[in-house]
């Protein structure tokens, strides 16, 4: 098969990986909010009322239109009945923490056997 070069995504990673990661984080946050809102059974209008904001404000947040501040994120999560947890993961597959955990497990298995 003829090599057609990089995928569109790989091309963008070369062009501006930083901007791409920013957009991916926005999608990750809006996805987390959408899932939490669905689980809560609240509508966007009800969420807006709880926040004392308009439905348009909530819609903008859910659409990733605003650059959401951490304070607003905490408020929105709280209004849904959630807390925000932050986790930084290594870009390389298998974080350091996981690798250490795996080493410990292997050590334990050796001791047991």
């Amino acid at each position: 098969m003829m090599d057609k070069g990089l995928t569109t995504y790989e091309e963008m990673e070369l062009e501006d990986a930083r901007g791409l990661r920013q957009e991916e984080l926005i999608i990750e946050v809006t996805e987390a909010l959408a899932r939490a809102l669905r689980s809560s059974g609240l509508t966007q209008s009800e969420l807006a009322a709880r926040l004392g904001k308009t439905k348009g404000f909530v819609s903008q947040i859910m659409g990733g239109g605003n650059n959401l501040t951490l304070r607003t994120l905490a408020d929105v999560a709280g209004a849904i009945g959630c807390r925000v947890q932050v986790k930084l993961v290594s870009e390389k597959k298998g974080s350091v923490a996981l690798q250490r955990s795996s080493s410990v497990s292997q050590e334990r298995r050796r001791k047991i056997s």
Binding site: L6, E24, I27, L33, M62, G63
Partner: protein, 148 residues
């Protein structure tokens, strides 16, 4: 410069893979003339707009789902059962295909929420042409059809 990926009319010589993910591969549709209309539209967007759309594609490719109906939704029977990616004014229409693939047929800029019927018909036509070309290539390769 990568062959076939510069701005202007993009032909089948361009890489038709948008994103390879853990769950799905997102592909640009190739129409009956061997062109990639959605990729052509994408290439005309600003850097920020391209990143916004790719982030959505990547999410679907990696997780197999996008929960936010603000960003991804089925257009239902009136929309020829196509799926729509939406980010600010940008819309990309496409559909799932066997073999863990999602084919992006058309990109448009819309200031209003509703899509035109002509956009839906155009996307459906491009998808049908893509499928026909796909079947032809598989026959030539001696491969059977994709299976889920």
């Amino acid at each position: 410069m990568i062959p076939g990926l510069d701005k202007g009319k993009l032909s089948v010589s361009a890489n038709p893979i948008a994103v390879n993910g853990e769950k799905l591969t997102i592909e640009w549709a190739v129409d009956g003339r061997g062109r990639l209309p959605a990729l052509e539209f994408y290439k005309e967007l600003s850097l920020k707009e391209r990143q916004r759309i790719l982030a959505l594609f990547k999410r679907l490719a990696d997780t197999g789902d996008i929960a936010s109906r603000e960003h991804f939704k089925s257009l239902g029977k009136t929309g020829d059962n196509l799926w729509e990616f939406k980010r600010s004014e940008l819309r990309f229409l496409g559909d799932y295909r066997p073999g863990g693939r999602f084919i992006v047929a058309l990109g448009v800029r819309k200031k209003k929420n509703d899509l035109n019927r002509s956009d839906i018909e155009k996307a459906s036509r491009i998808l049908a042409e893509h499928d026909e070309r796909d079947r032809g290539e598989r026959r030539n390769d001696g491969q059977g059809p994709h299976h889920l």
